[in-house]
Symmetry: C2
Subunit: 204 residues, 2 copies
DNA sequence: GATATTAAGAAACGATCATTTCCTAATCAA
DNA sequence: TTGATTAGGAAATGATCGTTTCTTAATATC
């Protein structure tokens, strides 16, 4: 992006950017995770990304566009982290345990205090516009669909009770995962192993 | 409060208030629940309470004082609602089921969209000052202590597994309850009965 | 009545909000 | 080298932020 090279290797006309767009979005993610959309002022985003307000408005249409880019980027990061963490798990139950472990990890320490962008967006949902709410609903829907999928995998491999109400269990797990991240903004989770063991009873 | 009558029945000197303080705080609670602390401007609080900014600053030191009063009021309201809802339940398990039902109720419809003040505060915890965070931590701590108490009651009456890890189960339930309210800002919970049944497996 | 005290409410305060404007700098094609 | 085009960045814009000030109104005591 720095040199604005397109598919053919030709440069765009005009002065090239001297910052990396992807890097700027990554830094904007950190700002929005900590403060949410409404409380993240352009000035704070400017300091967080290292770009002046003018440069931000050259690169993005407006504050909503910065947020939309950050939201999409955050989702991609989470998806990758989840895929990596679940890769080694060999049953549906083990994958759900790994997912719980990942969320407890993310809710701990500095990462926990920084918070989850989805959680921040949910909390200020009434202050978001239709597009932002739609993106949020899509993220939540995907999360729930994944939980249902993992539960069905567990039923198929015998690690989850066969007559489990999958939709209901997925709803509970979804609320639990979001609650973990929400509480992590105030304090880290304690007794991770015990927590996971208690939560996995939902699968029995 | 309207007539500023003190313990002896004598009035305070000066012009009396022509609004009810408790009522004003009740209305401020609604504003903060919907928008959180930082996004609730004095102008919005003014419209929400029906008081001018000047009157608000006569009655409260500053915006933080309005929030502190609203937070305390909200906790009292919740405590009363919980006490009422649990009164008829005859076992620890039934009380936890009733608590889940209460939260699912509160997460539904207009009440759900309006949101929970504790959840809103958790989400913007990094933007709150030490006093506000302390009040928040106290609220969460009380919530967790109540869950542990209910679990122990269940163990005593046989409705909760005797060798349950009470602390861990309470942590899971706490995260679950907050997650329910958080998700309620975007969409109401579905299949309440199934949800409660799935969640109660934590007690087994 | 007169005086003291407090509330109500409009207006003003400086700070910060998101956004735009404007000028300079750096690259392209010619 | 010359224009066209875009980025960088400081400064200005009007709106809104939390808070204060000021004038007027309503109550107390004397």
């Amino acid at each position: 992006m720095t040199q604005m090279i397109d598919d053919t290797g030709a440069r765009s006309p005009g002065r090239p950017r001297n910052f990396d767009m992807a890097e700027a979005v990554d830094r904007a993610v950190l700002v929005f995770r900590e403060r949410g959309y409404q409380s993240a002022s352009i000035d704070i985003i400017s300091r967080g990304t290292g770009l002046t307000a003018g440069s931000l408005y050259k690169a993005f249409k407006d504050k909503k566009a910065i947020f939309a880019a950050a939201f999409a980027r955050y989702q991609a990061q989470r998806l990758a982290a989840i895929a990596e963490r679940l890769a080694d798990a060999e049953s549906g139950r083990a994958r759900i345990a790994a997912l719980l472990d990942l969320y407890l990890d993310a809710a701990s320490g500095a990462e926990g205090e920084r918070g989850c962008l989805v959680v921040a967006s949910l909390a200020e949902a009434s202050g978001l516009d239709a597009d932002q709410r739609a993106a949020l609903a899509a993220a939540i829907g995907a999360n729930e669909a994944r939980l249902r999928d993992l539960l069905r995998q567990g039923q198929a491999d015998g690690s989850v009770r066969a007559d489990l109400d999958v939709a209901a269990a997925a709803d509970v797990l979804l609320a639990l995962l979001q609650g973990i991240r929400l509480l992590g903004k105030l304090r880290p989770p304690r007794n991770r192993a015990g927590f996971i063991a208690a939560a996995l009873k939902i699968l029995d």
